[in-house]
């Protein structure tokens, strides 16, 4: 019964956003959208450690490509477009925003 965690707040403005990943487990996934994609780049943010830990725990990590492009953020994370985001939402049993 995997869950998709959707992060949308800037990591500096809402450090608690990373805390949601405390409740994610192996087989779940997380996608960075809107201002959360500021945590997808090379800069160290409150999301950096949480995303690395999530990856180590078998949690897939995605970022939304249009939101990255709009903000000029390059990432090594797997990216999806809007259709890919919708596809992810259909693949998981529930989403936690």
């Amino acid at each position: 019964m995997p869950t998709l965690f959707v992060l949308s707040h800037a990591p500096g403005a809402d450090p608690g956003e990373a805390h949601k990943l405390t409740f994610a487990r192996d087989g779940d996934a997380v996608i960075l959208t809107e201002d959360a994609v500021f945590g997808a780049g090379a800069a160290e943010t409150s999301l950096t450690g949480a995303l690395a830990a999530a990856d180590d725990r078998g949690i897939d990590v995605f970022a939304l490509a249009p939101d990255l492009a709009a903000r000029g953020i390059e990432t090594s994370l797997e990216t999806v477009d809007y259709a890919g985001f919708v596809e992810l939402l259909t693949q998981y049993d529930r989403a936690v925003h």
């Binding site: 019964m1 869950t3 608690g16 805390h19 405390t22 409740f23 994610a24 529930r94 936690v96």
Partner: protein, 116 residues
Amino acid sequence: MKTVLFMIRTAPHGSAAIPESHRACLGFATMPFEVNYLLTEEAVWALQPGQRAEAIGGHDARALVGELGDLDVSLYAEAEALEARGIDSDAVAPIQPLSADEIADLIAGADAVLTY
């Protein structure tokens, strides 16, 4: 029966997260759903003793949450968040403190999660 999880992570009094989620929860509780209400992160401040919300014309967050228990809504709070804020988890009954693992189970058992 479908299970709905209300997951509140916003501090009380600075926003309408507690009263609005309370209102929505009342609606779900009148229908055939199993309803769980979980306070995480800053939202556990709703359980701080000695709140006098009338000083700012607000709602008594602790009373609003407790009221849901009378409607067969299961009430939970993140144990780690309570501890980090010095809120005595032994004194928050009828709200049940949960570990991160137990919260992951609660999420995995929900058909839908509504976050505030």
